[in-house]
């Protein structure tokens, strides 16, 4: 899932302080699971903002809506009829949702209420860790199912580098060395021979280097 983290309330206040009719828009997907932008967080943020404006002596209308998703036309259309009631929206979906909203509702400023962090997993409640960078050319078959692009701080494809110490990365003891994990995994899969094969140069054109990306499935567009 896409993992996001709440922006500090002060930053959100700075974004919206000059508006008077504000919609806080949540998303029922990834950001709900990582407890950053679901219905519950919409409620918490709306209450905090109401409190702030009350203390400031400003009359500001703050509404709450949480859509099924903010990355599909059909759900964003659900609020079309009510959009003219607002002079600003704080979307606490991921950056995808914020942008899709902005594309759809040209005349309304859409502000981000979360920082979109990465694609990852829930290790336990309150702890999410990164697993995929969407580089567009998956090499997990050769690395025992552990991604060095995502999990190695230097994206070393023929690792480990000289900074791997007792299973940890040189940048932080709390971070596992991806290549220690890969070597351990290849060992348990009995595939250590794979280790000495030189990993070829990475084609970054499928990553961000190639500019904004798209997936086209003509069979589905019929």
């Amino acid at each position: 899932m896409i993992v996001a983290d709440k922006k500090p309330i002060e930053e959100i206040i700075e974004e919206i302080k000059d508006h008077e009719k504000i919609l806080i828009l949540g998303c029922n997907e990834c950001v709900t699971v990582c407890e950053a932008g679901g219905k519950k967080e919409v409620g918490v943020l709306a209450s905090a903002l109401r409190m702030y404006f009350l203390n400031e002596g400003k009359e500001v209308k703050i509404d709450e809506v949480t859509l099924e998703r903010q990355c599909d036309h059909e759900y964003l259309e659900e609020i079309r009829d009510s959009m003219d009631q607002y002079d600003a929206v704080v979307s606490i979906a991921c950056g995808v949702g914020v942008q899709f909203m902005a594309e759809k509702y040209h005349d309304t400023p859409i502000y981000p209420g979360v920082n979109t962090c990465f694609m990852g997993v829930t290790e336990k409640r309150g702890l999410w860790t990164e697993r995929c960078q969407a580089c567009g050319e998956c090499i997990l078959a050769t690395t025992g199912g552990i991604c060095p692009i995502t999990r190695c701080a230097k994206r070393v494809l023929n690792g480990p580098c000289g900074g791997s110490v007792r299973g940890s990365c040189e940048i932080n003891k709390e971070i596992d060395c991806a290549w220690q994990l890969i070597v351990d995994r290849l060992k348990s899969l009995n595939r250590l021979d794979d280790y000495e094969t030189l990993c070829p140069l990475k084609d970054w054109s499928t990553d961000r280097a190639g500019g904004p990306r798209k997936v086209v499935r003509e069979d589905l567009q019929q």
């Binding site: 230097k154 070393v156 110490v165 220690q180 000495e196 990993c199």
Partner: protein
């Protein structure tokens, strides 16, 4: 001859190589480079010029290498994967060679968070092993990475680093094998303090036939103080300092610690001279260049051979 560099000639002739290191200045003070170079001149076969070491911005390694050439020393141009993509790397290799630089050391580079610009984006377009292979393709096949022909090929003597003390230990020698397969001509190791572990590493390399395919220069950094030893033990990733070294320095007595550090370094050099599979020593006297003449003298590696 692959490059005809002095370092290559010395190694090929079967001499025990002795290389030095020089960190470029944090500014454009040419005199600082010249001053450091004078201490190394005649005492080493080639001088590594570090490339933004520990991710601190310094005068670029190729530029400081050129100053060394002007001073009549042979540089070993270090290049890290952290700061350049494959275009910049190839361009700098061509430019460096065009100006007479004949040795290169291919490195991953310390992570940018250790340096003075921790907010920077690390490039890491290719890794150090792919860099080795890229220089080899340029040199031996006369091609860019794209496959296009080069007009004039950089005849570099290709070096790489090896850290026997990083983990997983049993796989360090296999990574060395990868570097050899990728095309490196010589290896300079991380600073060695744990001699027992290094002996085991070099035995593995000998058993795998790697020391016949590449020259290995053992890395030595003399300890200047007990504080330095403790710092390297606890703070520098991938460096192992056994407690007995620290005890030995502590026991040296006031004012004699640095001398004891040099003494230990010289004992190491003596052992490396006799060690099968070790072809030389890379002396990294960090910010201690002025001590290199004395270290070289006491390590009995002078005079340096002159090979035509």
């Amino acid at each position: 001859m692959k490059s005809g560099s002095n370092l290559e000639k010395v190694l090929k002739a079967g001499h025990f190589a002795f290389t030095g290191e020089l960190g470029p200045p944090r500014g454009c003070d040419v005199e600082e480079v010249r001053e450091k170079a004078q201490h190394l001149k005649g005492n080493v076969d080639s001088v590594n010029i570090t490339d933004n070491q520990t991710a601190m911005v310094r005068m670029s390694s190729w530029a400081a290498s050129l100053i060394l050439l002007q001073e009549g020393l042979e540089p070993n141009f270090q290049m890290v994967c952290r700061d350049r993509n494959r275009l910049a790397m190839q361009a700098d290799i061509l430019g460096a060679y065009a100006h007479g630089i004949k040795n290169m050391l291919c490195l991953s580079g310390d992570h940018q968070m250790f340096g003075d610009h921790p907010l920077a984006k690390g490039v890491f377009d290719i890794d150090s092993i792919q860099l080795i292979n890229m220089v080899k393709i340029m040199r031996d096949e006369g091609k860019f990475l794209s496959g296009a022909d080069l007009h004039g090929t950089p005849k570099m003597f290709i070096g790489a680093a090896s850290n026997p003390f990083a983990d997983p230990f049993e796989w360090r020698v296999h990574r060395l094998a990868k570097k050899v397969n990728a095309g490196c001509d010589f290896i300079q190791t991380q600073c060695i303090y744990n001699m027992e572990k290094f002996r085991e590493f070099i035995k593995q390399a000998n058993d795998m036939g790697l020391t016949e395919k590449t020259y290995i220069l053992a890395g030595v950094t003399p300890m200047k103080s007990v504080g330095m030893a403790k710092y390297m033990k606890s703070k520098v990733p991938g460096i192992e300092v056994p407690d007995e070294i620290i005890k030995r320095l502590q026991g040296a007595g006031k004012g004699k610690v640095a001398d004891e550090g040099i003494k230990f370094a010289c004992e190491q050099v003596e052992e490396f001279k006799e060690m099968k599979g070790v072809h030389g020593v890379h002396m990294m006297a960090i910010e201690w260049e002025h001590m290199v003449p004395e270290i070289a003298e006491r390590a009995k590696v002078l005079p340096r051979p002159v090979v035509d």
